[in-house]
Symmetry: C2
Subunit: 234 residues, 2 copies
């Protein structure tokens, strides 16, 4: 019964667990992850944990500081801007390629519709973490249909970083609008309406970035400014 499970390596599973935890905001940006702590949780030695952490580092969700340890990444506003800039480029290209494949994709589109349904359900019960994760999975599943593995892999890193960005900078309105956008985007793709699909994707990403800029100043604490009123003259 467990012979099939072997095809997924241990560190692969642990990688996914940590990945999901971060995407669902059960691990906040900046939190330190000790190797021994994680090892106890998952019942393995530090060796396995290291491999998982290295991979997460390469995807940009973990920052690995030599001799200091692993921390959940805290993307600043500039990094967030770059990530969303890259997403805009990649995802528009992916949508274009998916639309080009056109009618071959009936079954895959059904899968995506059920993903949207799940996402909607999560949002309805205020399960924000799951909703964010499912939103990301929608984008990644869509990317799989474009027949370009390097791009899909790259998007994986971008999406996970976006989840961190949302976790850090989201305003209360949340992801309800995003769900409708996913739905409409999928409609356009199904109908082969490239132009509409592209503009919907662009809009979608613009909305995320718009939310980000709303709270731009909040995160970077400039101590000099905070205490400017009582600063002693040099």
């Amino acid at each position: 019964m467990n012979s099939k499970v072997k095809s997924v390596t241990q560190d692969q599973k642990i990688y996914e667990h940590i990945f999901d935890a971060i995407l669902e905001q059960r691990l906040a940006p900046g939190i330190k992850l000790t190797e021994e702590g994680l090892g106890e949780v998952f019942g393995v030695s530090r060796t396995i944990i290291r491999r998982a952490l290295v991979r997460l580092t390469h995807e940009g969700v973990i920052e690995l500081i030599p001799n200091r340890g692993a921390y959940v990444a805290k993307p600043n506003v500039e990094e967030a801007r770059q990530v969303l800039d890259a997403r805009r480029l990649i995802e528009l290209a992916l949508v274009e390629r998916v639309v080009a494949r056109g009618a071959q994709l009936e079954r895959e589109i059904k899968t995506l519709r059920s993903l949207i349904k799940e996402e909607h359900a999560s949002a309805a019960r205020a399960d924000t973490g799951t909703a964010i994760r499912l939103s990301g999975e929608f984008h990644l599943e869509l990317a799989q249909l474009a027949n370009n593995e390097p791009m899909a892999n790259f998007l994986r890193a971008l999406v996970s970083q976006t989840s961190l960005i949302i976790a850090m900078y989201e305003s209360s309105q949340g992801s309800n609008c995003a769900i409708d956008e996913h739905s409409r985007l999928l409609d356009a793709i199904e109908q082969g309406d490239k132009k509409t699909a592209l503009s919907l994707m662009a809009e979608h990403l613009d909305h995320i970035e718009a939310r980000l800029e709303l709270v731009q100043g909040e995160q970077e604490v400039d101590l000099a400014k905070v205490f400017a009123h009582l600063r002693v003259r040099a």
Copy 2:
């Protein structure tokens, strides 16, 4: 004297050595790299080697097969097509962003010119390996100027895979034309001529792909076709 060197970790250095060796074709596609063998060469234990190999795997130049070991990747024609497709997308976007920065880049452009000079010198003395590496470095240095780290990182993986692709599929004419193309591309960027810069970059990547398709059938041996003339009827 060696306190500054510490900032680069051991596995970082080993990673770069292997990376360069692959890019310079001193390690051919398909070659097996044993952990102990590498460990002896670099005077470290397998632990360090593992980290370097994991990173190389994530960049797509090494294939890590569970319980079997690490092999230099052998991209097939479809994978090559995807890599070059992705490069076209990313590098055009990067050129656009570099041109947009315009005149701030005098010093950086000089650095790029000296890189081209080195590349030219390598090609002149038929040092193909170094020429390929320097060609890749030109693209990566250019990417640094676009102010988008995720994209630049992604390009790093794409360029290294391209070097493998060239190693596997190159025809004899080699990279001389590419050098002129680099030079002209840089001219266009320096003059802020976006349109020319974009079309030169597109041309440049088309040339690489054109070379690839020339030898498309050579690598994937379809036994059924090879022995089609003597096949027994079902």
